[in-house]
Symmetry: C2
């Protein structure tokens, strides 16, 4: 039987509930249980399981690896939330808010180690190959986070730098999750490389789409206030594209808008007008589609059963078309 | 040629200088270089190399593992210093002080991953065995740190709890460093277990000695102000032993002293008088010697050349007799 990505999402959810990470002192372990049970789509572990299904690997091994990837992702959330001083995560208090900074640092550290534990339990044929991939990815994710923090203070960030940052911060972990699923399932080198490319380009397309929806999404379907990124002057794909395509006069207008002290609604509307004038929505869609095409063409080049590829394509489409 | 622990200490120092951890953004990598070059005795990696020498293993492999252990140790220092809000480390500004909290969190995270990289480069015969040991140890060190933080807020800490805490926070990493040196050198299971016990008991003896010297050491040789732990009401082996051996009246006297608002000098002197009356210096030495005897007897039970054991015993004696 071929599982849909939704089935795998449920399997991950059940596994997390069934095998909580326990230990003493409880101050260290309660936050781990808490953050792991906050839910979410479980995209990364689901990708790992979908890749394992595609390459017809052992399900139990893949599940261990998938949980490892999810623990790692949640470790990054706990530490990033401290840095961003975020009060909420999925509508609930963040770990540093519910407990404190020190507990958030230390329970995050434990989670990173636990991620390695789970990856080792997945018993890949070549453990050092798998761990080298994971190490490289983990470091890239940290680098992406640092670039992102640096960008907040800079005024000269280019679109190319932004794309590199989202690749590091977001896309490589999706790619790594898939490749880990491939490696524990005995996929060959070329297949592993192709599924990695699938994930990387999906991740970049998804992030551009995320920026697009923040400005142009249907507020009801998007679930967030429209224009949040514009209000906070976040350096998004849209803003950086606008700056790169603007005349000197338009650049000044953008500059003035980011320093705007008027109503937020007015600021959002004026920035959207500028974006529209510069053709930013269309340019965003073009780039998004370019990355998505790279993503699907990687999948096409993998010579495996089409019905095993279908759930991967279904998830990719769901991620990209959530406002449809 | 048999190397002394001092030679190995130099080898570690040189290796750290020769192979800096580089990358971008520099905000993430400069702190790693900085903390790793602050020096110190390099006890943990030296123990790893001494164990590899004892079991006649490949020096290059052992060096990679040793550097991994040292990177891990420095990762714990960077994160612990945030939690302890420590301004200085080896007389220099701590990472969070010199840069900031977020950089200290994130560059610490990168160091933990880099530690795994180095351990994998050591190419042990059984990588998962080595990493399981390391994972277990890393988690124990975090648990020890959390227990230590919990103890600061508690008033009912027992001596047994304290010993367990220092075992987790300090001793198991010394033990693990040695066992890793053994595992990369092809030592058998029993030898690896014995060298682990050697390190664990040495670590506990060393920590009791550290507490003892804070109150009874020669200020010139100890390099710190005498009585610092007494002034800060730190729950040391001495204080907890005193409480366990005190009459109700003496317990009240200790309680009053910890709340003492008078001169620090007076507080230290009165607490030392109480310690002396309760025979705490002698009790400390007895316990210290018990652990040290366990340590040396483990080493004796390893059937390897005595001249290869000698440098290990030399380091153990140096660590224990630094005020002699």
């Amino acid at each position: 039987m071929i599982n849909s990505w939704r089935t795998f999402s449920q399997i991950i959810e059940e596994e997390i509930l069934k095998t909580p990470i326990l230990g003493e002192p409880i101050e260290l372990y309660q936050p781990i249980d808490y953050i792991l049970q906050l839910g979410g789509k479980r995209v990364r572990p689901v990708l790992c399981l979908l890749a394992a299904q595609l390459f017809e690997g052992d399900k139990k091994k893949a599940l261990n690896a998938a949980i490892g990837v999810e623990i790692f992702h949640n470790f990054t959330l706990v530490h990033d939330d401290i840095m961003d001083e975020a009060p909420l995560r999925r509508g609930k208090p963040t770990v540093h808010q519910k407990w404190n900074r020190d507990i958030a640092i230390l329970s995050g550290d434990v989670m990173l180690v636990k991620a390695y534990e789970k990856l080792i339990e997945s018993e890949p044929r070549n453990l050092s190959l798998l761990l080298n991939l994971f190490n490289q990815t983990a470091i890239q994710v940290c680098e992406g986070q640092q670039f992102d923090m640096n960008f907040e203070k800079r005024t000269d960030v280019t679109l190319a730098e932004y794309l590199k940052m989202i690749e590091l911060k977001t896309a490589v972990l999706l790619a790594c999750s898939l490749k880990i699923g491939a490696l524990v399932s005995g996929a060959n080198e070329q297949e592993a490389a192709l599924i990695y490319e699938f994930g990387k380009n999906l991740g970049i397309a998804f992030q551009i789409q995320d920026d697009y929806l923040d400005a142009y999404g249907d507020p009801e379907k998007f679930g967030k206030r429209i224009g949040g990124d514009i209000i906070s002057n976040k350096k998004t794909f849209l803003l950086l594209s606008a700056i790169e395509n603007a005349t000197l006069d338009e650049k000044s207008a953008i500059e003035r808008l980011t320093q705007n002290q008027n109503s937020e609604e007015e600021k959002v509307q004026q920035m959207l007008n500028l974006y529209n004038k510069l053709g930013i929505p269309e340019k965003s869609k073009v780039r998004m589609n370019e990355y998505f095409d790279l993503c699907t063409s990687s999948l096409n080049r993998i010579e495996r059963k089409e019905e095993l590829k279908a759930p991967l394509l279904d998830l990719a489409n769901t991620l990209m078309e959530r406002n449809n």
